[in-house]
């Protein structure tokens, strides 16, 4: 791909319940089309892998066509295809990878299998021509919660810490369910919390206080949300036993206080990681980065710490194809090799593996 430093790349994302197709030219975003099967999962109260995989098969061709129309390009104009090869749901990943493979083979252009988590980071570099600085990335979604050290997004990504149990987004969904909010609960809980008092209940901040030096060294940048989840559940149980069904205000206070506990821990650790590594840039990505309280507090904390903060627009925070195309394009620009024929998806891929051979 020495042909061009502004390659035209189509990216496909299908690791969970969103079928995303994005098109980028170099670092310019041309199209970002998303079809979500979330309404089908809502009735089950969570994402059902087989339902998601079936929906991807139906959604992918229309999404490709919409993206081409929006970007005003033809398939034959494309220089490469990029696709999420992991981590994610195996059956869902496989649909995207097969579709990407078919496009690449039909067009006779290279295919880049990329890492879903790294793509969440890469999306930040769209529509800017800044030199990409080393950065701390806080990646928070329904499936992942990690602090990453990113020297170069197509090459060296180090995990400084990750969740030891639930992902932050998963905790949001579960607490939302306890509060009677429909799935997916994250955005609903965010809305409910806006009317609540975030100091009403002091929910625990896990893994923030250490008495043991070794423990600190091992878990300083790790997260745990299962204890918080139990604390909220117990609080609701006691409140209902005492006063009957929760009032709207009581629910809003619980939502706001829970959200604050999560967001506080996420940002404390991310800011600390930047300081520790001597980096001036903090990037927040993933579905939970669309949370309004996280965004507001991130601005506050990073300003106080003298960090330059980057958060993609909410539409680019959740799973999408543009981020996959972005990482594919950056890989081409960095001269990285394309994936070999017979690209295998890896549902459990770690973020260290940015590009798939």
């Amino acid at each position: 791909m020495s042909k061009s430093l502004t390659p035209l790349v189509l990216g496909i994302e299908s690791s969970c319940d969103e079928t995303g197709v994005g098109i980028v030219l170099g670092r310019k975003l041309l199209a970002n089309e998303i079809a979500s099967s979330v309404a089908e999962h809502a009735r089950f109260g969570g994402v059902v892998p087989e339902v998601a995989a079936r929906a991807h098969v139906d959604a992918i061709l229309p999404a490709i066509e919409r993206a081409l129309t929006t970007a005003k390009v033809k398939l034959t104009d494309l220089d490469a295809i990029a696709v999420t090869a992991g981590p994610g749901l195996a059956g869902a990943l496989l649909v995207g990878a097969s579709a990407a493979n078919g496009l690449a083979a039909g067009l006779g252009i290279p295919l880049y299998g990329v890492n879903h988590l790294a793509a969440h980071v890469a999306v930040e570099y769209l529509d800017s021509d800044q030199v990409i600085p080393p950065t701390i990335a806080l990646l928070v979604s329904g499936g992942h919660t990690s602090i990453l050290k990113v020297n170069e997004v197509t090459d060296a990504i180090t995990v400084m810490g990750a969740t030891m149990d639930d992902a932050a987004g998963e905790a949001f969904d579960k607490i939302a369910r306890l509060l009677g909010l429909p799935f997916p609960g994250g955005p609903e809980l965010d809305r409910l919390a806006t009317t609540g008092d975030l100091n009403a209940i002091n929910f625990p901040r896990a893994l923030t206080l250490f008495t043991d030096i070794d423990d600190r060294a091992n878990k300083e940048f790790s997260f745990s949300f299962s204890g918080l989840k139990s604390a909220v559940a117990r609080h609701i149980e006691l409140a209902v036993k005492k006063d009957g069904p929760l009032s709207q205000n009581a629910r809003a206070d619980i939502a706001a206080s829970f959200q604050e506990a999560v967001v506080d821990v996420l940002l404390s650790k991310a800011v600390l990681a930047a300081k520790r590594e001597g980096l001036e840039h903090l990037l927040i990505a993933g579905g939970v980065a669309a949370n309004s309280r996280l965004r507001a507090l991130a601005i506050e904390r990073s300003t106080a710490a003298g960090l330059k903060l980057a958060i993609p627009s909410p539409g680019l925070c959740t799973d999408n194809g543009a981020m996959v195309a972005a990482l594919g394009s950056l890989a081409i620009q960095a001269g990285r090799p394309a994936s070999a024929a017979g690209l295998a998806v890896d549902p459990g891929a770690g973020v260290e593996q940015v590009l798939f051979a």
Binding site: A42, F44, V57, G342
Partner: protein, 353 residues
């Protein structure tokens, strides 16, 4: 000249071939029930070296039945390959291509069965005439639940590429959707306890949200207020709410002026996340009971012709179709395309003198 790229991933064998004018110019396969994705990529890479690869002008793909995950690999690949080349993609029943292989047919003296492995101790199966014509729809079952009538059974064979191409000329075998035959393994969680009550003005915020979520031509606030103004004289409106949180998840309304006049269902709307839990039935019961209380001889309703779920619910409750109102409903896109309304009625057995 027809040059077909043939793909099938419905069995543990990943199959690819190029067939030109009824002649296999290249074919390859890989055995492995969990590696269809990698295998197909490698096979196609091999196909690229064939002189005929460039002249491919049709994709033929096996639509199953087959285990879900592998089956989709071939279908997703075939469809995008076809749009990349701007050529047609034709899906055919994979089982038929096992039955239709020349080697199979040569031996047949009578009708026969074809079965493949559906995993979980089940099989996909269909019955064929001795000339290879299928005479039953493909199905999934436990092996001991199928009566093979002592006929010959072709067990666990593989689709023949040439037969796959020939099937594109048999309408009975051409399919546009994957033949999953099994529902996704997912169980609906038990819904929290529901409460039905009369609708009031405070519900309208949520009601409007549900209305907008469900319909391309939603009623607005003024329309709902006007409806509620008719309660109780000519209108009855109800909501269903979750008992624990008082969240309104569905609503329904009835026009029923009483005095021997007929009743008309204005709406039954269940929020998408809560459909499939019997809430529509609960609301319909309420409306029917209200109509009976108000001595309506007949209850009518209109339903969008595509709304099969709702039509099934009404049919189950004794409503019968009496007419069709053409182009009655507006659609979101294209707005120019309108949907028909099916008019249904149910006699309530309250004879009015």
């Amino acid at each position: 000249m027809k040059t077909s790229l043939v793909i099938d991933t419905s069995t543990p064998r990943t199959i690819a071939a190029i067939i030109e004018q009824g002649v296999v110019t290249w074919s390859g396969f890989h055995d492995g029930a969990t590696s269809h994705g990698e295998a197909l990529g490698k096979l196609i890479d091999e196909a690229k070296n064939q002189a005929t690869f460039k002249s491919i002008n049709q994709v033929v793909v096996g639509m199953g039945p087959g285990p879900f995950t592998g089956l989709r690999v071939g279908i997703a690949f075939a469809r995008t390959f076809a749009i990349a080349r701007e050529i047609p993609c034709v899906g055919v029943v994979s089982l038929d291509a096992i039955a239709g292989s020349a080697s199979a047919l040569a031996e047949m003296a009578s009708d026969f069965y074809v079965i493949t492995d559906a995993r979980r101790k089940e099989i996909y199966w269909a019955k064929y005439q001795k000339n290879g014509q299928r005479i039953s729809e493909p199905a999934v079952a436990k092996i001991d639940q199928v009566d093979f009538e002592s006929l010959l059974v072709i067990e666990f064979g593989f689709p023949d590429p040439l037969a796959l191409v020939n099937l594109t000329k048999q309408p009975n075998s051409v399919r546009t959707q994957p033949l999953y035959l099994r529902k996704p393994d997912a169980v609906l969680p038990k819904l929290a306890e529901l409460k039905y009550r009369a609708m009031n003005n405070f519900d309208l915020g949520t009601v409007l949200e549900i209305e907008k979520q469900l319909f391309p031509d939603p009623w607005n606030l003024a329309q709902f207020k006007e409806e509620l103004a008719g309660v109780p004289k000519t209108r009855s409106y109800f909501v269903a709410e979750l008992a624990t949180t008082q969240q309104v998840v569905a609503f329904a309304g009835l026009f029923c002026p009483g005095g021997g006049a007929d009743a008309d269902i204005q709406t039954i709307s269940v929020s998408a996340q809560y459909q499939g839990n019997g809430i529509g039935q609960g609301l319909l019961d309420l409306l029917i009971n209200t109509a009976i209380e108000r001595s309506a001889p007949t209850i009518f309703l209109e339903v969008r012709s595509e709304n099969e779920q709702a039509r099934a619910l009404y049919a189950k409750n004794g409503f019968t179709q009496i007419s069709v109102r053409k182009n009655y409903y507006q659609n979101a896109q294209p707005r120019s395309k309108r949907s028909d309304a099916i008019i249904m009625q149910k006699t309530l057995g309250v004879a009015h003198e």
